[in-house]
Symmetry: C2
Subunit: 108 residues, 2 copies
Amino acid sequence: MFGAYWTPKILGEVNDSFVKVFKAKGEFVWHSHENEDEFFLVIKGQLRIKLKDTEIILNSGEFFIVPKGLEHLPYAPDEAHVLLFEPKGVINTGGTPSDKTVENPEWI
Amino acid sequence: MFGAYWTPKILGEVNDSFVKVFKAKGEFVWHSHENEDEFFLVIKGQLRIKLKDTEIILNSGEFFIVPKGLEHLPYAPDEAHVLLFEPKGVINTGGTPSDKTVENPEWI
């Protein structure tokens, strides 16, 4: 559909935010975003978001907003497609750079 | 599902924006938002957005971003459910107040 797992692509800009999509499978990395809330809406499949003390399970059509500063670990048992809404400057891995970091997402 | 047609309800806040949903049927009103882009994602049914020189047809799972300043008329031949993403201060009828104006959307 749109390339590698955990690689957000930009669909459009809405004021100071981007609408992005990404394909998920397996585990991402624990991270947080110091100043930005992130909106996740599952388009296909199931996305799970581990928090320190609980776990959010999102099926297609369901959403969750990760508030700024909250440590979270997105993962997907099987392939899932997810829409993201977040401020333009957000880096996918937040304050935890790794080989999964995408500094400049592509537009599609 | 969530009350009257063309009455946006707030699902959550993401930084300076609200995520809203509304139920559409029939015509809304021609209007524009001077300073805000609006993101529309159709969840169920079909939403059409008339622009001055064309018409956007959005089926379930499809989205469109109405850029700031652009006159638009949303309408739905049959009932549709739509997710909206826009800055907190946006009034649904923009610069064209009417009996469809919702000044302070409810949270659900």
